[in-house]
């Protein structure tokens, strides 16, 4: 049955998620940090994770953003095909939610209107980057992520050769995480999409880092690949803060998509230790 949803509910949801994301590190990532603190063998690495845990606690209780880079607002919106949105247009409603949160909670406005002139900040952290999907049902799922520039700069897509195979993918991930070093603020979460095409691989790698840190991929072969990649990434030696250590990543999340017979796209999305994503179903 078709259900009506007023657009203001979307604005309010976006504003609330953006606020929570800035101040409250999700429980799954906090648990992962605590586990990594115990497992880390480098004393400096342990210390870095300890500082991150203290930082998360301070951010939550004192309402100071956990990171000064409060990110670009990224939204994944799954719209049930039986929902009728009323009262305005969706893009405007989402941007209004972002605008409100970034202003009211003293979050950093980090968006340049023109990427090569870099002379005018939009002033309200809009526009958000929005990915829509039409899904069955009559609900709307709003997933908000505050994505910082440091880890975004360490993300990539490579159009590999089919001959490179899965061993090529593993090497690509290891080399990429190694050269990224301390830049993306490890401990990180690594999202990898194997297959799809140029743009889908990037999108799905990004979406993969939004999965709960401790979930298991439903496909046992991919789950095993995730375990293997995590072990390899943690053998790079990058460690917390890049200072060297055994705990470089909390998880590696892999998505596998069908692809063209001539192609072998592989995307790597890096999520920093301020793993800020929140969702709600309206």
């Amino acid at each position: 049955m078709v259900r009506e949803l007023h657009i203001d509910e979307v604005t309010n949801a976006v504003a609330k998620l953006a606020e929570e994301a800035a101040f409250e590190l999700p429980d799954d990532f906090l648990s992962a940090l605590k586990r990594m603190q115990e497992q880390e063998t480098s004393e400096l690495g342990k210390h870095v994770i300890g500082q991150l845990l203290k930082n998360a606690e301070l951010a939550r209780t004192d309402r100071v953003p956990m990171c000064q880079d409060t990110g670009m607002a990224i939204l994944f919106i799954d719209i049930g095909q039986d929902v009728h949105l009323t009262g305005g247009d969706l893009r405007t409603a989402i941007d209004e939610g972002v605008r409100r949160a970034y202003k009211e909670h003293y979050l950093r406005k980090s968006i340049y209107e023109n990427p090569y002139k870099r002379d005018k900040n939009t002033g309200d952290n809009t526009p958000a980057i929005i990915h829509y999907d039409i899904v069955p049902g009559n609900k709307v799922k709003v997933l908000f992520a505050a994505k910082g520039g440091g880890s975004e700069n360490m993300s990539t897509v490579k159009m590999m050769r089919p001959a490179d195979g899965i061993e090529g993918v593993k090497k690509f991930v290891i080399d990429w995480v190694t050269q990224a070093g301390g830049n993306p603020c490890p401990p990180i979460v690594v999202g990898v999409c194997i297959g799809g095409n140029f743009e889908l691989s990037a999108l799905m790698a990004k979406k993969a880092v939004m999965r709960p840190v401790d979930d298991r991929h439903p496909d046992s072969e991919i789950a095993a690949l995730e375990d293997e990649l995590l072990e390899l990434v943690n053998k790079t030696g990058v460690g917390p803060g890049g200072f060297g250590g055994t705990q470089t990543a909390a998880a590696v999340k892999v998505d596998v998509r069908p692809c063209h017979i001539a192609t072998f796209p592989v995307a790597i999305a890096i999520q920093c230790n301020a793993s800020r994503h929140k969702e709600i179903v309206l």
């Binding site: 953003p65 030696g237 055994t246 301020a274």
Partner: protein
Amino acid sequence: MSAIIQIAMGKTFKATPPLTAAKVSEYRAGDVVMLTGTIYTARDAAHKLIVKMIEDGGELPFELEGAVIYYVGPTPARPGRVIGSAGPTTSYRMDPYTPLLTESGVRMTVGKGSRGDEVRKVLKEHMAVYCAAIGGAAALISQQITAAEVIAFDELGAEAVRRLTVEEFPVVVVNDVEGNDLFEQGMSEYRRL
């Protein structure tokens, strides 16, 4: 934050800028420096403008000789606060500007992540060091900042140049005047591939 003193791989120094070449040449990769006093913020946009001012012979927003530059774009201060969150941003983006600033007297830069070969060479030649703060510990670091004032490029917002007063702000020496690199040392110690 002073807990870092106990886990430091090297020595711990206390320092109040401006810093001399003699002073920073004592620091080795892995040492901790507790900064107290005045440091300056600058990131991409401010670097571009400052470098242009040096090239044009214009008046600079602060004295570069002995200066400590912290790569940070803080969040806006809430009412009643000195500053918002203020963790380090990624340093390699400043690599194109660092040689000239180092030749002009800057003795220490603070950020996160590795520097390029040219920067490391210039640091060695001109007796300056690069240090890291903990990327992601932005709320904690803001507690070491006791005063903040925009002194140039106000229109840049988060990218404006600020004069910060810090108290025991701990930074770890990554690149020293001998050409050592803490990140390379750390990674090779723990690499198992």
